[in-house]
Symmetry: C2
Subunit: 282 residues, 2 copies
Amino acid sequence: MSSDRPDDDIAADAGQPRWFVASLERGLSVLLAFGSDTPELTVGEVARRTAMSRAAARRFLMTLERLGYVAVDPKQRYSLRPKVLDLGFAFLSSLNVEALALPVLKALTRETTETTNLAMLDGGDIVYLARSVAYRPLHMSVHTGDRLPAYATSLGRVMLAGLPAGALDAWLARTPLRALTPHTVTDPERLRALIADAGRDGYALVADEIAVGIISIAVPVLDAAGKVAAAVNISSQSGRWTGPEMIERFLEPLRAAARDLAPALRAMPRPPASPPTEGRTP
Amino acid sequence: MSSDRPDDDIAADAGQPRWFVASLERGLSVLLAFGSDTPELTVGEVARRTAMSRAAARRFLMTLERLGYVAVDPKQRYSLRPKVLDLGFAFLSSLNVEALALPVLKALTRETTETTNLAMLDGGDIVYLARSVAYRPLHMSVHTGDRLPAYATSLGRVMLAGLPAGALDAWLARTPLRALTPHTVTDPERLRALIADAGRDGYALVADEIAVGIISIAVPVLDAAGKVAAAVNISSQSGRWTGPEMIERFLEPLRAAARDLAPALRAMPRPPASPPTEGRTP
DNA sequence: CACATTATGTGCGCAATGCGCACAGTCAAG
DNA sequence: CTTGACTGTGCGCATTGCGCACATAATGTG
């Protein structure tokens, strides 16, 4: 097949343009292969999980080991080392999460005695940036960096409401709405209406949709340009408060906190909102 | 099997063996180029900081953008996106830090009304895995994932005391002891004695060595095999408590917490202890 | 206002790089 | 023992990613 490529800018079929550095993607996929369920992996397991040859998996693991990101034990089992935190935390500290956002969340927790969270939108998910948990037994085990589907959370709804018009449509069109509980709204039109409500009212209240027994209310955090940059919420047990009570007691404190949080967040470039294929051809 | 040394274990001049995937190292260095001080970088800045050609920096940035780790704004400035957290948090959740360790720290903070920290050793640094800060004004701005030199901290001293004999010598031999305050112990022999004390006593007390006004006491967290896997400390202001008072009030609660923390930490493969963190930008 | 100056994006030829096959050694189970 | 599912490693070859070089756009300076 001399079907050599003259220089097609859109790569043929395999899917990646000429400038794409495949080795980086493969290397990162090796790091991601380590999950909370599987903290230790062998070369073969990594190869299987990443769909690459054993020789390749081994090369990447050895490279990562030399760089200090993974370690091997005598039994040839690989695991992550603390150095991987270096990769992610430049991001959090660039947002001044610890110095600026956390104190605000803690104050809000103290005022309301409820768990509070700060999150951003990334792809179709919300990502927790910081949280302040009440002493009450944790109802859901969420952690900084964790992801949840945006459509079933109060944080997600207020942030979806802040997307440019077309972006929301595109998002709805390609996101499968799975029912996480019997109460999860999975009808696209109903969801769209709820998101519109959230945009109009400036808050979202969601009960029992991400998990039974969880109720939460969220408001957007606006950046200097007035765009929705993030969201804060208060999360509690649905037995404790009714929806109207949540609004009554928590909406104003939340809004005050959101105002305080604004300066903590730099203006983030807008989410690509289209992960797989995108055409930005100048 | 340390085979012969035909030519591959000591690679030619660049210093990397044949199996080393250079593109992964370069790609990761692009991620690390984003610091808290510089949340936004242009292609040229990244090229300069990573000492690679502009073309290469651009390839990596575009690759990372397609993968969702970075974003470009209209002004061609790149910044990290929340997805980078995915890389680091698999590690924390693999240790069950959030679910198991944090509650213990919080309980300790409640009992003592002081800030508590959990850290591991990595290279010559301690890395904070989790912390529970007291409401008292934060004296030092430390964050999960942050690093501090091990030799000047209580956490570091108890963990250094847990290293195998030879490893400590090697570590001392190659680690420059910089004075961070006038009180920092920089004499290797005095430091070695202090580390030995920490090993014998099962705790380390350090005052004003990492920063003036900070005093802390740390104890090791042992894994199932009895090895030092991590360390917990209580950190306060040196004006508040004297050393003996710290020991008197906090040592026992700390030891109890350390026992509770043990199951939270899997046995970590021992730190290579060889690669001193480097890779500073020119 | 034209001229440096320095940033950007992109094509292309070429060699080094990283690929995966294939072989060898190791441990456990049957 | 045989079998099978693992490891580590050498090596030839095609690919991949490299950086030069050029075009262009945005800055600043006389």
